[in-house]
Amino acid sequence: MALNLDRRHFLGLAGAGAGAAAISACGGPSTGGSAAATGAADIDFSGVKPAASIDFWSNHPGKSQDVEKAIIEKFHAKFPDIKVNLVTAGANYEEIAQKFQTSQAAKSGLPGLVVLSDVWWFRYYSNGNIIALDSLIKQLDIKVDDFQKSLVADYKYEDKQWALPYGRSTPLFYYNKDHFKAAGLPDRAPKTWQEFGEWAPKLQASSGAQYAYIYPALAGYAGWTLQNNLWGWGGSWSNEWTFNCDSEESVAALQWAQDSIFKDKWAGVSSKEAADDFAAGITSSTISSTGSLLGVLKSAKFNVGVGYLPGGPKSESPVCPTGGAGLGIPSGVSKEVQLAAATFLKFMTEPENTAQFSAATGYMPTRTSADMTAVLAATPQIKTAMDQLAVTRVQDNARVFLPGADQEMAKAAAAILTQQGDVKATMTSLKATLEGIYTKDVKPKLKS
């Protein structure tokens, strides 16, 4: 923080003097200074008094606005000196990021605590927009060991903790039990996509639904959920920093997906929210986030089954990515605000509250000690999501570390799954795009 204040100070001075810099003095970037500080320096919070009020920016993942409000109220009861304002800062992770970055540019209006998705936190880190939480974790005694290990590890870089998990999810296979029964299929998710390929025509013939399976809406989901298909076939978006999305395996996986739509004609692509299409009965099955679970159970007028994601010809497991959002603390706010935010962050992620959040949304409890018995009694399906965590695989670098890559993947998926574009050609061009982003935006910032 001290670093930041100094820089701002410097900017003001430079602006007042130099004529050329005057244009940028009202808040533009500095071009004279050294590279951006990363906020990596440990901040000493001893003797700091938490601020009286902080903003909490959320997009309410999994329709969590009500439960967020409820937890904040509990927080107010326990810490009457800190007021938390819940701000709806966007409809999705992209919009919240957009708002956050704009505020960064203006160096004002920043929240104390912000929801950051799997594809955004690294960008914030590399811009120096968020602080390392380690000293706060120590001072406030946040029990990091009690968190789900893999979920915490997602936000580790350079041996520091840059965020803590919040609305964390995996994709789940949702199926219409009634349709499966009518088609004479076993009451479970398919083990592999090949198995489902055999089931699909039967399902379609007996269910009366438009599709046997619907691919999640491409925007916001394709990059995430198609990893399941890619991994099952032995492919991926990337292997470390090698972009192999045009490999034989990757192409085969997406070719199969394309065929399911255009050749075998039992699959479709959702336009907005596959979970809604599923709940409406348009399709007999789909893949959607665990965060959609409670919503689906509420609106579906049939028996809902959930299961692990299907594997592919090369790999049956692990073929499930984790995803969802964490919470981070901006670097551009005062120590007092950061401390207050961390106090709230600690409260928000306590076992009891993560269980409450999970019960309301379907997101996974982030703490191993969270008491889920009551939650599971009410919604046993959450158990599947929790168990699947054991067989998840770390997401491909290309998706989570390259800014904008998720959207480029969605565009490529649109070309393949809705325009019936040539798979190999599309993937080759995606590879070039990803490499371009890597060289321009990421490689220079990586610590080798």
Partner: protein, 313 residues
């Protein structure tokens, strides 16, 4: 929305006298002197009404669909068999829309932003246009060209610099922060200047001989004879302030200071899934209908004014 881009710096383009807007009075059939010819009769019967009805339906059906859907429950929307009419006149969606997000507050904010913003803008436009036309000043043409060029700067392009500026002044999440950057009005100035150019110089000269100063000449002579043009500018400004989207979206993130279109996006954020369509349509009704009513009441000015000067290119 850029309502009207420059018409022409050519004063002839705007040769219509102040009574222009009245000429478009809907009560008077446009072609008074046209004989009721046989050909015309045939045209009326064969093709007269059909295209009109089609055109009107194309406009109204989507809006009607919006209103109908705003009464439908999720079960009536998330379904494969579409029902055209809602099962009942259920205001539940309006209720949800107005409790999920504070629509009354949005409405009030929109009213304030539009009222204050539009009033100041119109005033500034009148003053500047008067100065440009009737007050001697060097470089008036340069200033006018600069105003013309300002019309070319897409407002979206100024977002980031303006955000940095306004946020730095503490204008984030304030109504003045929403209003201030849009106050300078190139469009209104331009349109009124074009109109003032057409006023006969004689009436002002006689006033000047009577010893009337600029201030009196402006309010006693120029403004009264220009009411229709000013009304037009006012309505265009009201409409664009009311509908303005991207700037209020960027500069506010608290419901207390959001305007209606931004509030509608906030509602979309909260109800952005299939079952939320009914609620979103209710929200859309709340945003669209007020301006539709204003338009219906004053359409003859707005329609007349927007086409001002257009026919001569």
């Amino acid at each position: 929305m850029s309502l009207l881009s420059p018409v022409s710096p050519d004063p002839a383009a705007n040769a219509g006298p102040a009574a222009d807007a009245f000429d478009a009075d809907p009560g008077i059939p446009p072609q008074r002197h046209r004989p009721f010819s046989r050909a015309n009769l045939v045209q009326t019967l064969a093709g007269g009404y059909l295209p009109l009805i089609v055109a009107t339906l194309v406009v109204f059906l989507p809006l009607l669909w919006m209103v109908l859907s705003s009464f439908k429950q999720p079960g009536e929307i998330i379904t494969m068999d579409l029902k055209i009419l809602p099962e009942s006149l259920n205001f539940e969606n309006y209720n949800i829309a107005m409790t999920t997000v504070p629509f009354a507050q949005f409405f009030l904010n929109s009213l304030i932003v539009t009222g204050v913003g539009a009033t100041i803008k119109v005033l500034l436009a009148i003053l500047t246009a008067y100065a440009l036309v009737f007050v001697r000043f060097p470089y008036k043409n340069v200033i006018f060209v600069l105003i013309l060029v300002a019309l070319m700067v897409p407002p979206q392009v100024s977002i980031l610099p303006n955000y940095i500026l306004i946020a730095g002044m503490g204008g984030k999440n304030t109504l003045w922060g929403i209003i201030l950057p849009g106050l300078g009005t190139a469009f209104g100035t331009f349109l009124l200047r074009q109109h003032f150019m057409t006023l006969p110089g004689s009436i002002l000269e006689s006033a000047e001989i009577d010893g009337a100063g600029h201030w009196r000449r402006l309010w006693r002579i120029v403004v009264p004879v220009s009411v229709p043009s000013i009304a037009t500018v006012a309505l265009v400004v009201v409409v664009s302030e009311w509908n303005d989207y991207i700037w209020p979206l960027i500069i506010t993130d608290r419901p207390e200071t959001m305007t209606l279109p931004v509030g509608l996006t906030l509602l979309q954020n909260s109800e952005g899934n299939g079952s939320g369509w009914g609620i979103l349509m209710a929200g859309a009704v709340l945003v669209i209908v007020p301006i539709l009513l204003v338009f219906a009441a004053l359409q003859r000015y707005i329609v007349a004014g927007l086409t001002q000067g257009s026919v001569t290119g």
